[in-house]
Structure formats: C-alpha cells, structure tokens
C-alpha cells in the first residue's frame, strides 16, 4: 500500500468486504462503488484495490472466480464474500465503531451526531 492511503489500510479492507455484502462484484465495480458511496472523498486510483483484493482472497475472506458478466458478453473476475469474510466484517465494523466513538469523544462531538 502506498503511504498516502496507509491510514486507510484496514479501512479499505473493510470497505471492500462491506461492498461485497450486496453481492459478488469485480474489481472495477468495487472501485466505482467505493468511490461513489464515499462521494469521491477517497481519491484513490482503483488499481490500488487489487493488492487488497488479493490479500483478502489469500486470507480466505473473499473467493474469486472468472464469470461472464450478465450485462456484457465478457468474463470478469468476480469476488464474493465467504462465510469467514462475513464474520470478519462484523469484527471490523465493531472495531471501527469503537474507534470512531473514541475519536469522537476526543474531538468532543456527541456520538449521536456521527
């Protein structure tokens, strides 16, 4: 991972897992989705997703398979969430929430506002 998004190292993994919760997707779709849902806040090049995707696959949190896209006559590598990945997502979400809460306290913002 690059230094610029090093801060988001764990966060990126979580975002990917979260995206896959809605169903299988290929790299391009995942990238676009994250960009769209964060309102382009994460100015990342979606190529940088691939190291993360491969890392998740290696850990067994996602599985990958070449499949024909339903809307085009082309094969893409589709990633889907595994059972293990689902559990991991809940772990990461709870961790994230704890951290967000902690950060919010430090910054003096009421938790409800997040």
């Amino acid at each position: 991972m690059d230094k610029r998004n090093g801060l988001l190292q764990g966060t990126l993994d979580m975002l990917i897992l979260r995206t896959l919760l809605f169903g299988p997707a290929h790299g391009h779709q995942i990238g676009k989705h994250i960009q769209r849902t964060t309102n382009d806040f994460l100015q990342m090049q979606h190529g940088s997703l691939y190291p993360a995707l491969h890392r998740l696959e290696k850990r067994g949190w996602v599985s990958a398979k070449w499949e024909i896209a339903p809307d085009r006559n082309r094969e893409f590598k589709y990633y889907r969430l595994t059972e293990k990945g689902r559990k991991q997502l809940t772990v990461e979400e709870s961790q994230w929430n704890k951290m967000a809460e902690a950060v919010a306290r430090v910054m003096g913002t009421p938790v409800e506002e997040i």
Binding site: H26, H28, H46, G47, S48, P51, K58, E75, K77
Partner: protein, 887 residues
C-alpha cells in the same frame, strides 16, 4: 521472458488488470473522450500498473523469494552484459579473497587445529620461570625430582633437547636419520600407541638396559619395506645392535622441537642415570595432566617439588624460580605465531584494498547506469528494492570472486609451502577443511557487502539517482558527490598500499642488512658437512681425536682442497654456552671474575680454514695435544668485555668449574685473540666466545658432545666443484666404512638456510604489497579514466574556450597527484602503527625509517602517476568539436 515460477497466477492477474483497464477505457470513451484521451484517462484513474502488479505480487506469500530469483537473474544478466567489468572485479576479488584464504588455511592448520593426540588440552610443557628469565630446558636431577606421579599429573616424560642423527648401518649403505631420545612414558604422555609391537617401558629406560628402538611409519616403509617381521629384529644403530620393538602409527609427529635435518624417524630410550647431579639443562619435559586438574594446580605442586630439590642441590633449580605448565600446542607454535599474525594483518589489508577497488569500479559503473536506475525508480521501484537489487548483484559478484579465490588460495598455498621455512611447512597444510571454505564464503560475502553498500546507497540516493533528470548524459560535469566518494576511496587505497609497502620495505631492508653482514670470515669456496659419530665408538677423547686426525689428511688429499678442520658448531647453529672463571693474577674486578660465554671446540687449522683473522697471539695448532698445557683462544668481544685495558694473552681461565666434578676441566692459558664471527643467531650481536682444541676436551664433555651433536667440518677449496659431496663421502668411508656424512652444504647455503625465515617473511610481505600496489594502480587508472570519460564534454568546452592541451593534461594529473598526496599523508599515520607490529621482524633498521619511507613514497607516486598518464593523455587528445557534438 518469465524466469520466476508463477505461471497461471501471474497471467491471471495480468488478465484481471487488463480487463479493468479496458472497462475503464470504454467508460471514458462513452463519456465522450477520443480513444487516445480515453486511454490516458483510464491509466490515470487506474494508477501505475507496474507498481500495482508489484504490490499485488508482494501479497502472495512467496514474493521475497521471487525477488531474490529476479535479482539474481538481473545480476547475472548485468554481469554478462559487461564482461570486462565482471572479469576485472572478479579477478580483483579473487586475489583479495585468495590471499586471505591461503593464509587462513595455514593459520588453521598451524594455530587453530588441536595437536593430533588424544585430549591434547591435557598435555603440557614444563617451563622454568625466574623473575628475569624463563627456559624450557631441565636438568636430569630436576626431571627425576618431577617424575613422581600423583601431583595431578597422570604421566610425565622427558626428551633430549638436541635431536641427534643416528647412523643406521644395516645393509650396504650407512644412512643418518634424525632420532630423538625420550624417557619411558613419552608416548603415554602423548597418548599414542605403536601400530605394531610395543611401547617403551621402564625397563628399556634403565641405564645399561639392552638397546631398543621404535621406528616411524615412514622409516619402516622406506628402509624395511613395511615388513611386519621387523619387530624383534636387531638393526645396527650407531654401531650398536638394537632391537626394534615397535612401529609408530602413520602420521605420528612430534613438533615441539625441530631438528634441522628433518622430521624425527627413530626413537630411543633416554636411559638417564638416577644418581646424576648434572645441573646442565639437556632435557625438556612434557606431561599429561589428570582429568579435571588445572595447569595452575599441577604447576604449584611441581614448583614445590623443585624447591625441595633446590634445598639439596642448589644448582639444579633457582631459589626464586617456579615452574609453569603451558599447553604443548603453545610450545609447538610459538615461533611461527608472530609471523602468521603479521601475514594475516597484511592479507587483511590486501582484501580491504581489493574491496575499495571494486567499490570504485562499481561506483563508476553505477553512474553509467544512472539512467537505468532512474527509469526503474520512476517506474515505481522503491529505494529499498533498488538497493536490494544492486546488493544482490554485488553478492553474485562477490560469490564468483570467492570461488575464484579458492583456486587462487590453493595455488598460493602450494607456492608458499615451497618457499616456507621448516617452521611453517612442517605443518604441511593440505586440502582446506570445510570450515576454511566456510571462511571463504564468509569473507566473500562480507567483501560483497563492504564494497557494495556504499555505492548502492549513493547511487540510489534521491539527489543522485532517483529524481535525477531522465537524461543524465546531458549533464556536463560528473556528479560531485560521486566524485568525492571515489576520491576518498582512492585516498584510502593509496594509504593502505603505502602501509603494506613500508612494512615490506622494512623487512627487505632488514634482510639486506643481514645478508650483507660481515660474518667475520671468508665465505667463498667453503664447504661444510656433518658426521654423526656413534657414541659406542667415539665417546672418549682419544678415539674422537684419532678419528679427526685420520679424516683430516684424507680430506686434504682431495684435489682442490686447501684446508679442512672440524668444529662443534657452525656459525648460525645453536652454540654451546659455558661458564668460566678467571684465575691467576688478573686485575679484573671481582664481579667480572667469572662469566658465561659461547664455547666452540675446534681441531687444528680451524681458523685457517675459515680465514678468521688472528688479532693477537696464535691459533690452535696440532701441537696442542692432550698431553700439552691447556690452551684457549678467545674472540675480540670476550677480550674487550673482560680485559678492556690489557692484553688477555697469558691470562688463565677455567671452564665449567662450578658445573660439578664430572665437568672439571684443566686450567687454560689464553694464547690468542681472534676476530668476532657470527654465532648462533645471525641477528644477535656477536657474543664473547671461547675456542679450545678437541684434543684437550674432558672425557665427560666429549661423551656429551658425541651423544648430542654431530661433528661439523669446514673444507676450504680453491674453487667450487660439482660432485664434491660424493668425493667427500667416499673419502670419509675410507676412514671408517660405517661412517656416513650428511648436510653437505656450502657456507653460503648454511647462511641462506639460516636466513630462510627472514627471506620468507620478506618475500611474502613483498608479494602482498606488490599486489596491493597493482590493485591501487588499477584503481587509480579506473577512476581517472572514468572521470575523464564523464567529463568529456566539460573538457570539450574548456578546449573550445581556449584551454591548451597541456593544461588539460596537467589538470588531470594534478587531480591524481592530489589524491596520491592525500593517500600518502594518511598512509604515513598508518606506518606509525606498522612499527609496533614489526619490531621483532626487523634488523638494523628502525620501525620508522626515513630511507625506506622515501623509496616507498617515490614508488607509490611513480606508479600512481604512471597509472593516470594514459587517461590524462586521452583527456588531452579530446577533439572539442566531436566531444560537444556526441553529447
């Protein structure tokens, strides 16, 4: 081309990334961009594909190995692409590693490997220590006092200090072989049993017991064809029938003493008289300690025993003395250790120089590769990755250098052993062991890191490599920091070479001083040889005198012989040393009334044969017989020391008066003073010396002499003639048909042999420093050439602006000269360090010698400038037009 075992996974990633990029491109086109614009926009949105590929691969577990394979592959490819650089660097490393390996192999065999006896750390050597001196020698009563087990000592043994040549006279030709007289438990102390037959026992060692011998494996094979039936057979040793009781195992050696005549082949019992009160130190002692007993514990007990003896026999042990026990290994290696340490320091310097040299080569080459490195960096290679790749390349280089170094070391060791004095080559280093090869690997890798890290860090540094403009060839002057580094390396290299050269120069100077030393007699046409006389036949003075008087005319009768005489020891050989007392009406001070001096027994005509000048009085003549009054001739050093203000002629001295009743010698009148002659150690000052005729020697002295040292002869001829040795041998056989001769050498050879150690040290250090100088010259040449090449356009501009060719030449040479001067200054500081290490290797020259330094500095300057002349002239011949155009 794919060289790492990735296969599908890699293709898969490729396909995945491509499909994403294509999709992105399509979307961009649909957004209304032209195909070209869409392509770039897609790349922008996607990121750097190479970097992403790298990072993705890094998440696969085997990635580090892939990198290594990849780096190795790149490394080999880079080397193959520039064979000139590769071969030069490998050769330089091979020399550096090879020299270290060669010396380490010898050090390993000599100093590091334990003696080839069971549990060698339990074997100790006795050393007598007083506050002022220490000595290994022990007298017979002292050994007998020690020889009571139960003091933490399992067994103890003595051997004669002087190995003797023993005449083997079975069959048709007599032969002299080196033998050693040892006490009964000698082999039990070493823990070695004969491979055949039996060991010596206490009965064999009693005075008057039947003669027995043990053979070494080599003698058994050489002379008796390895026949096992030899056990129990009787052979003639020194005209005495002796029974062979055993054969020692193959490879058994005892290295604590080194006979000049070669390795010991025959062992006989000492048969010491138990009632002896002889205080002269004719023995050395070794012991095997009991398990769990420290050397200090045992030494304390032994010291107590020695003090008890001193109470009864004061001459046997000094009252303030003690006994130290040191590992036998230390005794065995003590005379080679300093030289080996000196050599290892020298080769370490050579290796350093080699590393500096290769570092400089690398630096020059890496700056040629700056473009490549810049491209790699801008394609996304991290600095760590680049440094790692460059280091891997260097390790490939270092490993190749190491392998070549093993070959160099093998060759070196062969050459070394041919030239080495017996002190070193008796250890006969064979094939290097596994740990020596590991040492080779270790020093190659260290060298690889040493020469590789600095250039790799330098060239990948942000300002020098990474963000350099993509076209470094546009730059007119070479990188300042790179040049500073390579200049520093040249300074280091010059300094190290200067240190080595200065050391070699000092050794050369010492050797020359020794060789030019006036020996005090005439070298030319002087032949020497030895006869070992059997004790049974010749141990009384009359018999010895008869032999000398019979042999002398036989030798004189040979064609070309002018003079011949016999003597107890030749110059450069270990000389007897005896106490004497000055008697009669002499007005010497009381504390000068006795002393110790070197002592030689000579036959009539010795001074004539040697052409030693008679300064006063007369020489020893045949008229000085057993029946005539006792005479002694002294040398100038003795006359000056004891009779500084008067003539010693006519004075009386008594030799060996206080050694005990056995030794009582007749009073002798000084009849002559002769010039000083080189004595046992060439580098020692001439000691006071006494000469007496063999004919007047006491029976006890003759019996000791004949038993311990051979009789030496000097023969003055009118010219050197080949075949003289065999004529001499047959002349002596006419006197005694059982009497072989040995060690036929000219006096020049005797001196050359004595100087062998000096010569070896000098040659070796000379060779190392020559290598260092050549490496330094190569380094200077390489760096200057590289600088000139990189400054071609700068020089072109200077010329276009009107610089003269001569001023360009001068500019390059001046730069080189400055570096040399810097190196010499730094080196001079190092020379001061040399001094302390070298002190004991020098003769007649101080550790910091202006003369030697002047020559060495001139040499370094000369070679350095010579190495830079060619590049300087190339710089001066640059065509400005072409230099600017080809830019």
């Amino acid at each position: 081309m794919r060289w790492w075992p990735l296969g599908n996974r890699d293709a898969d990633l490729e396909r995945e990334l491509r499909s994403d990029l294509e999709l992105e491109e399509e979307e961009q086109r649909e957004g209304g961009l032209s195909p070209d614009e869409a392509h770039y926009a897609a790349l922008r949105a996607f990121g750097n594909p190479t970097l992403i590929r790298e990072q993705t691969r890094a998440t696969w577990k085997s990635a580090p190995f892939e990198h290594i394979w990849q780096d190795l592959y790149y490394g080999l490819r880079q080397l193959r692409r520039s064979p000139g650089f590769a071969v030069t660097a490998i050769l330089i490393l091979a020399v550096g590693v090879g020299a270290n390996l060669a010396i380490f192999n010898i050090i390993d065999k000599v100093l590091l490997q334990p003696l080839a006896y069971p549990e060698p750390d339990r074997i100790v050597q006795f050393e007598k220590v007083t506050p002022s001196a220490s000595s290994y020698s022990a007298s017979v009563p002292l050994f007998l006092a020690w020889n009571h087990p139960n003091h933490g000592v399992q067994s103890i043994a003595a051997y004669s200090v002087l190995p003797v040549g023993l005449n083997l006279a079975q069959g048709d030709h007599p032969e002299r072989v080196p033998g050693l007289r040892v006490s009964a438990d000698f082999f039990r102390v070493l823990g070695i049993e004969p491979q055949l037959g039996r060991n010596f026992n206490a009965n064999d060692d009693r005075p008057g017991a039947p003669n027995v011998v043990l053979l070494t494996d080599s003698l058994w094979h050489r002379r008796y064809n390895g026949d096992p039936a030899i056990i129990g057979k009787t052979i003639e040793v020194d005209s005495q029938p002796s029974t062979v009781v055993g054969v020692m195992p193959r490879g058994f050696r005892f290295l604590a003493i080194q006979p000049t005549m070669g390795a010991i082949e025959l062992w006989t019992p000492l048969q010491l008289p138990s009632a002896s009160r002889d205080p002269s130190g004719t023995l050395e002692c070794i012991a095997r300690l009991q398990r769990g007993v420290t050397r200090e514990q045992a030494a304390a007990q032994i010291t107590a025993l020695s003090r008890q003896l001193a109470a009864q026999l004061p001459a046997a042990f000094p009252s303030n003395g003690s006994v130290a026990l040191l590992p036998l290994q230390q005794r065995v290696t003590e005379d080679v250790r300093p030289a080996l340490l000196l050599f290892s320091a020298a080769v370490a310097l050579v290796l350093l120089i080699a590393c500096v040299n290769v570092a400089n080569l690398l630096l020059a080459r890496l700056s040629d590769r700056a473009l490549e490195i810049t491209i790699r960096a801008s394609l996304g290679a991290s600095r760590l990755r680049l440094v790692r790749q460059l280091l891997t390349e260097n390790l490939v280089l270092a490993f190749a250098g190491g392998v070549a170094g093993v070959a160099v070391a093998w060759l070196c060791d062969r050459l070394l052993l041919m030239a080495a004095p017996v002190t070193i080559n008796r250890f006969a280093p064979g094939a290097p062991g596994l740990h020596v090869l590991l040492f080779a690997v270790a020093i190659s890798l260290c060298a690889g890191l040493l020469f590789g890290v600095l250039p790799a860090l330098r060239v990948t540094r942000g300002d020098a490599g990474g963000t350099r403009p993509a076209s470094p060839s546009r730059r007119v002057t070479a990188g300042r920091s790179r040049r500073r580094l390579s200049s520093a390396l040249i300074v280091v290299e010059t300094a190290l070479s200067l240190m080595l050269l200065a050391a070699a120069g000092l050794l050369l100077r010492s050797f020359m001083n020794l060789e030019r030393l006036n020996p005090g007699f005439n070298f030319d046409h002087l032949t020497t040889f030895e006869t070992t006389l059997p004790t049974a036949k010749y141990s009384d003075p009359a018999a010895l005198q008869r032999f000398i008087e019979a042999a002398q005319p036989q030798i004189l009768r040979m064609p070309g012989v002018q003079n011949a005489a016999s003597v107890s020891t030749l110059p450069t050989q270990a000389t007897l040393n005896f106490p004497f007392t000055i008697g009669g009406s002499s007005n010497v001070a009381p504390d000068q009334a006795s002393g110790e001096s070197d002592y030689l027994l000579v036959s009539a005509g010795y001074f004539r044969s040697m052409q030693i000048p008679i300064l006063e009085g007369r020489s020893i003549e045949s008229s000085d017989s057993a029946g005539s009054p006792g005479v002694v001739v002294i040398n100038q050093a003795m006359a000056r020391r004891y009779w500084p203000h008067e003539s010693p002629i006519g004075r009386q001295i008594v030799i060996a008066q206080n050694l005990g009743p056995d030794w009582v010698d007749r009073p002798r009148q000084i009849v002559g003073v002769v010039g000083d002659v080189t004595a046992d150690e060439i580098d020692q000052p001439r000691a006071p010396t006494m000469y007496t005729p063999f004919a007047q020697a006491s029976p006890h002295l003759v019996s000791i002499l004949v038993a311990t040292i051979p009789l030496r002869w000097v023969v003055r001829t009118s010219a050197d003639s080949p075949g003289f040795a065999s004529q001499l041998a047959s002349a002596l056989l006419d006197v005694d048909a059982h009497q072989p001769i040995a060690e036929v050498r000219t006096m020049r050879q005797v001196f050359a042999d004595a100087l062998l150690r000096w010569r070896f040290n000098m040659l070796l250090l000379g060779a190392f420093s020559a290598v260092a100088l050549i490496l330094a010259a190569v380094g200077i040449f390489g760096v200057t050439s590289c600088t000139v090449r990189q400054r071609t356009s700068e020089i072109g501009i200077r010329m276009a602006l009107g610089a003269q060719r001569s001023s360009i030449l001068w500019m390059v040479l001046r730069q080189c000269g400055l570096l040399l001067a810097g190196g010499i200054l730094v080196g001079l500081a190092g020379v001061a360090l040399d001094g302390s290490l070298l002190k004991e290797f020098l003769y007649g020259v101080r550790p910091v010698s202006a003369g030697v330094l002047t020559v060495v500095i001139a040499l370094v300057c000369g070679v350095g400038l010579l190495a830079s002349v060619t590049p300087a002239r190339r710089a001066a011949s640059i065509d400005p037009l072409r230099a600017l155009r080809t830019e």
